[in-house]
């Protein structure tokens, strides 16, 4: 499937402003991005400096010893500033920063830079080349090791800035609670933000499921991505943001800030009183699960009040590797992901790659239409060796950790494909096989497709793309990709009916699952599990607790009875209980 997680999807009309229109006295200006981490925030803007690259045309150095001293001093200053930051953050972030400081102090890095200087490169290029030498080694190792490349390049970029005497990239130091604004944030940057000082995050790039979005949601910092012109907002300008609606107001008026704060406080209060498994008001069990993409996500999600993992994306195991990862390498990673979920379910999506995310070791060549090409299970059919190695590793890790592991295939279109996949899963000793329902043809014939397996999981982002024939990479088509489109809701509804006839459970692991109003619609359509960013679980738990199954069904009917996406949302807002909608 085209990755549900990395594509921008703007849907400005999805959440109309619930606040009364405030009269702007100053130059208050409201813009819309995509809300990716719930909550509201208000504070002055701190602009994050972009990475620094070596200048073009940097000549060779004349005095190599002096240049080496400069390079050494640059790395040392980076180490010192990282260590200084480490004193101001929590334990996890502290370890990341200290490990990054160790990289900056690495003797090998200075030696490699010295070689580059001797080869006639300038200071900045020597630093950059030295960093890239190690980056290439880590990338070749793949898996976990490749994940460290971002930290290494961050050190390189900081050292280049230091040697050039320009401001360091990344988050400048600040002492007042602020809203961080950036083109995009590096994972290490987001992970090491001081939660006491960072009240909100706004990025110009990124998507619903970019690193920034995922980490911000996990850290519980309200965040908006895809805000046009964000990096041009002058530093120090006060902004108010709403991480649910995606609304950002520049120089807001005090009434708006007060209304947002009051609503946020009521919501926090309502959420604080609920915990445990997802249930409707009449006691129907709806599993609340997490979407995760790696070991770090798993550890974070494992510590939270949720029932397991509804979507573990395994692409990262493959994408950075230059050769197919071995069973042993994969087992090690899966063990790390499953360990926090002993006794809980973990739904694993098998390798999902295609021409838009080619693998170095299984590239079937360029395609005109990668979203419609040999991707997902279709790639596995061409390279069953890759699938078998993955299933074998998953089975070993499942036995060793005691997690309730269930495996599902992406991009399944027919009952034959589902049967083929289920057989391979069982041959590898895994008890439960399922399929993603993201191809409309499979949704319409869910009865047959799911009859071959144990469960289904709706990937609503791709299902919307294929149902509406709108490329998820095309920002201009975002209205068509709106999950409230009645056409998409119909296809979801038909898939749920097919699942019910086949007596198979069906869940949702697309972004829709994390929207409290859409979650009610999905439950009304017959879904029995919802998988989302972990930070979205509490508000969805609240939404479910306030509505019975019959009410969810009435809400779903109201949505499907609407003529347009905007009407569907309005109808659901009207039909849902005000105890919920007053908090949104």
């Amino acid at each position: 499937m085209a990755d549900s997680e990395t594509q921008p999807q703007t849907q400005p009309q999805t959440h109309p402003q619930t606040q009364p229109e405030t009269q702007p006295e100053t130059q208050a200006e409201t813009r819309h991005g995509i809300g990716v981490s719930p909550g509201t925030a208000y504070g002055p803007v701190v602009q994050v400096a972009p990475p620094v690259r070596p200048p073009a045309g940097e000549g060779a150095v004349e005095d190599q010893e002096a240049a080496l001293a400069d390079v050494r001093a640059a790395f040392e200053s980076v180490a010192v500033s990282l260590e200084e930051r480490a004193t101001r953050v929590d334990d996890t972030a502290q370890q990341i920063l200290k490990a990054t400081a160790l990289i900056a102090r690495d003797k090998g890095l200075v030696k490699a830079a010295a070689k580059e200087l001797a080869a006639g490169h300038g200071r900045a290029h020597s630093i950059d080349n030295a960093v890239e030498t190690y980056a290439a080694q880590f990338e070749a190792l793949g898996g976990y090791f490749a994940e460290r490349v971002a930290d290494l390049r961050d050190v390189g970029s900081r050292a280049v800035a230091a040697v050039l005497g320009v401001p360091a990239p990344g988050v400048p130091s600040f002492s007042e609670p602020s809203v961080i604004v950036a083109e995009d944030l590096a994972p290490a940057e987001t992970a090491t933000l001081d939660r006491r000082l960072v009240v909100g995050i706004v990025t110009e790039a990124g998507g619903r499921t970019s690193h920034t979005a995922i980490l911000a949601a996990q850290m519980g910092i309200p965040a908006v991505v895809q805000l046009a012109g964000a990096t041009e907002i002058p530093a120090g300008t006060p902004v108010a943001l709403d991480g649910d609606t995606g609304e950002v107001t520049i120089a807001p008026d005090p009434e708006l800030v007060a209304a947002q704060r009051e609503r946020a406080a009521r919501r926090a209060d309502a959420l604080a009183h609920l915990s445990g498994p997802g249930r409707t008001s009449d006691g129907a069990e709806i599993a609340l699960l997490a979407n995760i993409g790696g070991v770090e996500d798993a550890v974070a999600a494992g510590a939270q009040d949720l029932e397991g993992v509804g979507l573990f994306r395994t692409e990262f195991v493959y994408l950075s590797a230059t050769k197919a990862p071995t069973v042993e390498e994969q087992t090690e990673i899966y063990r790390g992901v499953f360990a926090p979920f002993e006794g809980r379910r973990v739904v694993v999506r098998t390798l999902d790659a295609g021409a838009d995310k080619p693998l170095k070791f299984a590239d079937l060549g360029p395609e005109e239409n990668p979203a419609l090409g040999r991707r997902g299970l279709r790639l596995s059919a061409e390279r069953p060796d890759l699938l078998d190695a993955q299933l074998e590793a998953l089975a070993i890790a499942a036995r060793e950790t005691g997690a309730d592991v269930r495996v599902m295939a992406p991009m399944v279109a027919t009952a034959e494909e589902a049967a083929w996949f289920a057989r391979r899963v069982r041959e590898n000793g895994l008890p439960k096989a399922g399929v993603m329902i993201e191809v409309p043809g499979a949704a319409l014939r869910a009865h047959d497709v799911l009859g071959e397996v144990d469960f289904g999981s709706l990937g609503t982002n791709d299902l919307a793309q294929y149902t509406m024939a709108a490329d998820r990479m095309q920002g201009a088509l975002s209205d068509l990709l709106d999950p409230w489109q009645p056409g998409v809701l119909d296809v979801v509804g038909l898939a749920c009916e097919g699942a019910a006839r086949a007596d198979r459970p069906i869940g949702v692991c697309g972004e829709s699952a994390g929207d409290p109003l859409l979650a009610l619609v999905l439950v009304g359509l017959g879904v029995s599990s919802l998988s989302m960013a972990p930070s979205k679980v509490p508000v969805v738990r609240l939404a479910l607790s306030l509505h019975s199954v019959a009410e969810c069904q009435a809400i779903a009917e109201a949505a499907r009875g609407s003529r347009t996406a905007v009407d569907a949302l309005h109808a659901v807002r009207e039909a849902a209980r005000s105890e919920l909608t007053d908090l949104l």
């Binding site: 160790l102 690495d106 003797k107 090998g108 880590f138 190792l141 090791f145 042993e328 090690e332």
Partner: protein
């Protein structure tokens, strides 16, 4: 020259936090400590990039060597460190 062979216990292998703890401990000893995969060229145990570039994974063996006063004690404590699942702590 003191030598020890130890199996990496950390479930994610010798990288990130486990590597950082190991490098810090090796550096603190003040000795020349080296680490290698059996039969491969050793790297400086105080270089985090060198240690991570080994690519030592869970369950793999590594060979530690050190020279000088207290080499045995140093290696014993490094072996103890690598024998724990540092990520689980």
């Amino acid at each position: 020259m003191a030598t020890r062979t130890v199996t990496i216990a950390s479930s994610v292998g010798l990288h990130a936090r486990p590597a950082a703890l190991f490098v810090e401990a090796a550096s603190a000893s003040g000795l020349d400590v080296e680490i290698a995969k059996p039969g491969e060229d050793p790297v400086d145990a105080t270089s985090i990039l060198g240690v991570m570039a080994l690519g030592a994974r869970h369950g793999e063996e590594v060979v530690l060597t050190a020279d000088g006063d207290g080499a045995d004690e140093t290696l014993d404590s490094l072996v103890a460190l690598l024998s724990r699942d540092l990520d689980a702590e």
